[in-house]
Amino acid sequence: MDVLDIARWQFGITTVYHFLMVPLTIGLGILVAVMHTMWVRTDKPEWLRMTRFWGRIYLINFVLGVATGLVQEFQFGLAWSEYSRFVGDVFGSLLAMEALLAFFLESTFLGLWIFGWGRIPKKVHLATLWAAVIGSIVSAFFIIAANSWMQHPVGVVTDDATGRPEQVDFLAVLTNNTALAAFSHTIVAALMVAGAALVGVGLWHLRKRTLAGAPTTDVDHSVWRRSVRLGGWVSIAAFMLTAITGDVQGKLMYEQQPLKMSSAEALCTTEAPAPFSIFAFGKLGSNECDDVHSWTVPYLLSYLAHGDFSTAVPGVNELQQEYAAAYGATYPDDPSFGDKAGEPIDYTPVLAVTYWNFRFMIGMGMLSAGVGAYALWATRKGRVPTNPIAVYGSLAAVAAPFVANAAGWVFTEMGRQPFVVYPNPDVPRAEQVYFFTAQAVSPGVSAGEVLTSLSTLTVLYGALAVVEAWLLVRFVRAGITTGDGAPTPGHTPEGTPDDDLPGGRDEKSDDVLSFAY
């Protein structure tokens, strides 16, 4: 493998891994903030316990997201320095704004929330959590604006001296239609992850308590019941919203990246009306489109692409020729293209990857919504499901929206290959800005170095995943009241402050400004 392949694997592995934490952080953050708000408004103890239990899971997960996010900030420069130079006028400023306007908010206020129990007024304390959650959402917006600019570069002209894009309209970058669609899709997909966790864990605890003969009238019963009900409704509502936002994205993709759409469908030749493929067989892996056959739903792809039942959807074969005519049949014979210099360009993404990830995304999302609906039905009017297959199935289905999220990103990122910055078809060909992945990698870095970092990070991430999973499982099994071998800490239902939290009892009562005298 050459540097390019290793660096791509490294980016893929570290990013997909990072994105296991991100949707849970965003989704669960919103739901924990809702729980905390409900507690502050109603003073009901179950909302406090839900805040504490789910808040702890949120934090265990959050820190791994922060830690792996560091790699993201640096690896553009480390392994993709030519990309960084090329996109510098747009991309870097979005990352910097994410740090300045979102990360500070997120980490500072989360620190205040964690250590603020009993130290700052109740409503201010609640506001610190909302500030942190808003930080996560703002962060998602900036990074998706950056990613969407790579998918659909807007707001730039080509600098004649350097050949690089020069930003002329920052507002256009922020209001990129690709970014708005992807941002809303990502946020609701994150809520699906959180909803599934509430449902799976809640059902498991309800069943366990019921089998153990625990009362159905105590606070802990309402904790799990409310978790399941909240999670179920969130799963269903968020799934519907992913379908709507996904549909918007599909129509944009048809205009902006038609090859991604036809690759998602393994649609070889242009068809009007175009059918939607349910299941493909044949030689998908060989990237020979003509050897692929599938079961299809007629007209559906035309609808997904353009909202009617007749539109022609261009096929892979036609598009490959169109792109070769527009952007060259072979890579320029230039050292900046590395091993690829002078080689023919395949404008078709890896069909097996785009096709199956697209279906994984949709299928896993539907599965998750189905589990949510089942949970609502099974817990109607105070019922508790005890069927082990259904309950353990729901617990296993916590993984489904994670898979859906990862598959969606793999699809959209692999689907824009061989470009790292995709040419924007709204712009005349001569003024388009685009960049091949093959020319993006750092020229001075050796394969050995990237292989070292790839293996180091992969081993480290694997080890961290083992510890994280072990901690989460342990914590989830233990539940609320015995999670730390102690009753739920914090404010009692009467609202008396807890004094055994950090900085509570241990502190002298003097109120002098001892830090900065």
Binding site: M97, F115, G116, Q167, P443, G444, S453
Partner: protein, 338 residues
């Protein structure tokens, strides 16, 4: 002042803010095995930085982000030239971050001791590595006319990197000790004070040497004065900690850093990556910068964002301003939190 110079100053301020803030939590973490003789003491030390380290670390992300945003030519030259050291820094920062959170997610002696050691090791690696990177980018990297590193994977690690590494570690150790003396009470406070009393003059030498060398290469009368301020502040900090005036010592030690980084960035300007091969290959701010339009957009964002950030970070420090004392940690403490 032109925008490129303004953003060079902004980047310098962000790196300085990072060293000033994360410096003390690096130092406290590195001193855990030195000053934390009992488990109780170590927990107290960790509590002193618990609510603060993550907010401090965002200064690093913002500093690196600002380098990318304002000077992509700097970012794209500097990082790949020091590829493996930066990866090591990332590993250090990752294990340190998870260790802070995971340490008290499970309650056995072994677990606690392991993650405490991970915090120390990760912090040492990160402090040394970031120091090395800053030393190299101000004193020189072996880059050619295209900004590409020459000489293989380890060519970037020369004496400038070593000097920068030792300088940041030395500064952080004393900074952490003075912070602990200021922030805690009991045996930790005494041990931290004694550490700072003994080591502060020595620990500042690499930092002063680094600043002095950058000054000799490109300094002005102003950077000479700044360097002198830094050097004199070492003596002030030392004198104040010897008479147990921890607050004044902390301030003076902060001035050591401010004077040194002002000297370093002031003397390095306008070069952001000096080449050890030929000064003709030096990367300057105008080679590395983005367009004036983008700099203008960022200036607006930072002009709005930075004061707000400084405001709420100051508020955090106010909320957690109390001196902590080393009573045995309550059995249920830190349940919900980190």
């Amino acid at each position: 002042m032109d925008l490129q110079t303004l953003w060079f100053i902004a980047v310098a301020v962000l790196w300085t803010g990072f060293l000033l803030l994360e410096g003390f939590d690096f130092g406290v973490a590195a001193l855990l095995p030195v000053l934390g003789r009992t488990k109780t003491d170590r927990h107290l030390m960790l509590r002193s930085i618990g609510p603060l380290w993550d907010g401090n670390e965002v200064w690093l992300i913002t500093a690196a982000g600002a380098v990318f945003a304002a000077f992509p030519g700097w970012y794209a030259t500097w990082l790949p030239a020091l590829y493996l050291p930066f990866v090591l820094v990332l590993v250090g920062l990752i294990v340190r971050a998870v260790a802070f959170e995971w340490r008290h997610s499970h309650h056995t002696e072994q677990w606690d001791a392991t993650w405490t050691r991970v915090i120390t090791t990760g912090s040492l690696i990160a402090a040394l590595g970031i120091g090395a990177a800053l030393g190299a980018t101000t004193l020189g990297l072996p880059i050619d006319a295209d900004g590409t590193r020459v000489g293989g994977a380890f060519a970037g690690i020369g004496w400038p990197a070593v000097l920068g590494a030792v300088a940041v570690l030395g500064f952080s150790l004393v900074h952490g000790a003075v912070f602990l003396a200021l922030k805690t009470d009991g045996p930790v406070r005494l041990a931290a004070r004694a550490f700072a009393q003994r080591w502060s003059p020595v620990a500042a030498l690499p930092l002063l040497a680094w600043a002095g060398l950058v000054h000799l290469r490109g300094g002005t009368a102003i950077t000479a004065v700044l360097w002198l301020v830094a050097a004199l502040s070492v003596l002030v900090a030392w004198a104040r900690i010897r008479v147990d005036r921890e607050g004044q010592a902390f301030t003076a030690w902060a001035v050591v850093l401010l004077g040194s980084t002002a000297t370093i960035f002031g003397a390095a300007y306008p070069v952001v990556v000096p080449s050890t091969i030929s000064s003709a290959f030096d990367v300057t701010i105008s080679d590395a910068s983005v367009s004036d339009y983008t700099l203008t957009v960022m200036t607006w964002a930072a002009g709005f964002g930075l004061p707000v950030v400084l405001g709420y970070q100051a508020w955090t420090y106010w909320v957690f301003r109390k001196r902590l004392s080393a009573e045995p940690e309550a059995p249920h403490a830190e349940k919900i939190g980190a």
